[in-house]
Symmetry: C2
Subunit: 314 residues, 2 copies
């Protein structure tokens, strides 16, 4: 495999599918995830350990982790966990990363995980301790994620100082990685540059830093550019922009992985991902979700004439 | 009117309508353009002086200029001209700007205006001379535009050195403004930053510099951000992303004005444009083009909760 400049994580099987009403059968998911792995995507978030009564679409996450691990041992697998209980369920299945998420908006945290933000922070410390106990070599990485970091549909603006405080606390608690998410598509590039620059300064150079953007208001890739300039080298994308928002018909969900990869590769940044195979994987996803709205421009317009992706350049 | 940090020019009545098959009646255009002016858009490209047999949709440009001038005397009006003949027709109608365009791709220039690039350059000098003769006070500005500056569907890659040579030649010939266009949506942010930085260095600080992006591959607003960082403060947008490409169904045309304005305003850059009124103008355009595909995210998702546009901040 060629060297990689930027890590693109495909989160469609988690963030996309949890926002799609129907449940994709396990074998269909495996066909899709397998194609994603074959396209060279280095990391996939394959599901979450949230009670199945809340998100039935992801009830098969344990099996998905095991089957993906077996078929594509070199691809890093992430699973989302909302709390310690999630970590207890997730760790024995053998992922490479458990991705804990809390919200910078108190109102959103209350609704999403039913507890105050500081209780989530306390839980994070327990999750790190559990990982250290079960996995003393710390092969499994613990990511501390901050959702609604750029604004919240309930609370409105979110103070940048609160995001900074949460990032510092997660880092001190032992996070291997900090993820910062624009859960509802409120971020603008100026804000993105400030937040990531300040967070990097606060947590030091050794903890990985990832960005998760939604494209609800069309600024997703501009926000990626701003984050790149602030030194971020890990980005989440969702194939086809699956998910969207139930309150904004036609609005996209995650930034579209194919468009993200096209932008990075056209800028000379190697992702290790083959765009044609990525589009093939998208076709598989679409075939398993007939009628579901999908988004993205690369899939319609194709590559520019004579385009050479950075990952294929000499 | 509040001060403006960035000039957004609405080009939908020219670049959008010339790519829509049907012809919008003059009164309908006036209703749309009037609403655009009422939204605070400081400059509108209302049409072109191209032979009506080639672009029948814009045959009424002279009348549009006169009626818009009469109704909204403070809004700057631009018209596109492909050659000296266009300038001869355009100047007597009283626009504020005549926007000449040639292509950096020789193949595209041959197809678009049926002559070699150097003949277009020679024509530009004659256009400046004509303006100087008819308008010694130089109230009407002459813009020299470089199309396909980031790549061409016929030629593929376009050398950055050629774009630089063209910009320098247009500047030496007396351009008041240089416009650089990604006519087919090939540009990436790295390229955009290089080209605009180099062009600015080559033409000096006194000539205005404008950017025109298409969103064919989803990178339009990221390219705007890169151009902003290179010091560009004039951007074209097309309401609803009208136009697209006949060979890429569903692909957008110009970057969507509403999304562009939302990005700028959310970054603290004043455009002087009222987003709600801009959306109202879009509704008028859509009502006059029933069934025509339009694009954009702001119109679907609306403003973030508590959003205060820069133009409305104290």
């Amino acid at each position: 495999m060629s060297e990689i400049d930027v890590v693109v994580q495909e989160v469609g099987p988690r963030d996309g599918l949890q926002n799609v009403e129907r449940t994709m059968p396990t074998d269909a998911k495996m066909e899709w995830i397998g194609a994603v792995c074959e396209a060279g995507v280095p990391q996939v978030q394959v599901g979450s350990f949230v009670p199945p009564r809340l998100i039935p679409q992801l009830a098969d996450t344990g099996e998905i982790v095991r089957r993906t691990r077996e078929g594509w041992p070199d691809v890093a697998l992430s699973v989302l966990i909302p709390n310690l209980k999630g970590a207890e369920l997730a760790l024995p299945t053998g992922p490479d990363q458990v991705a804990f998420v809390l919200s910078a908006s108190a109102a959103h945290n209350e609704r999403n995980v039913r507890r105050p933000v500081d209780e989530s922070l306390a839980d994070f410390a327990r999750i790190v301790a559990l990982r250290n106990e079960l996995d003393p070599g710390r092969r499994v990485k613990v990511s501390g994620g901050i959702a609604t970091a750029f604004g919240c549909t309930m609370q409105g603006a979110v103070p940048e100082a609160e995001v900074l405080r949460l990032a510092e606390t997660l880092a001190e608690a032992g996070a291997d990685r900090i993820g910062i998410a624009d859960t509802v598509g409120y971020a603008n590039p100026g804000q993105v540059r400030r937040v990531f620059t300040d967070v990097r300064a606060a947590i030091g150079p050794d903890i990985a830093l990832g960005a998760h953007f939604h494209d609800t208001r069309g600024l997703g890739l501009a926000n990626v550019l701003a984050a790149l300039e602030a030194g971020v080298r890990q980005f989440d994308g969702g194939m086809g922009g699956l998910g969207g928002c139930p309150y904004a018909p036609g609005a996209t969900g995650n930034i579209v992985t194919e468009d993200l990869v096209f932008m990075l590769e056209s800028m000379g940044l190697r992702t290790g991902i083959d765009l044609e195979r990525l589009v093939a994987a998208r076709r598989i996803m679409e075939a398993h979700l007939p009628g579901e709205p999908t988004h993205g421009t690369f899939v319609k317009a194709g590559a520019p004439k004579g385009f050479v992706p950075a990952s294929r350049a000499a």
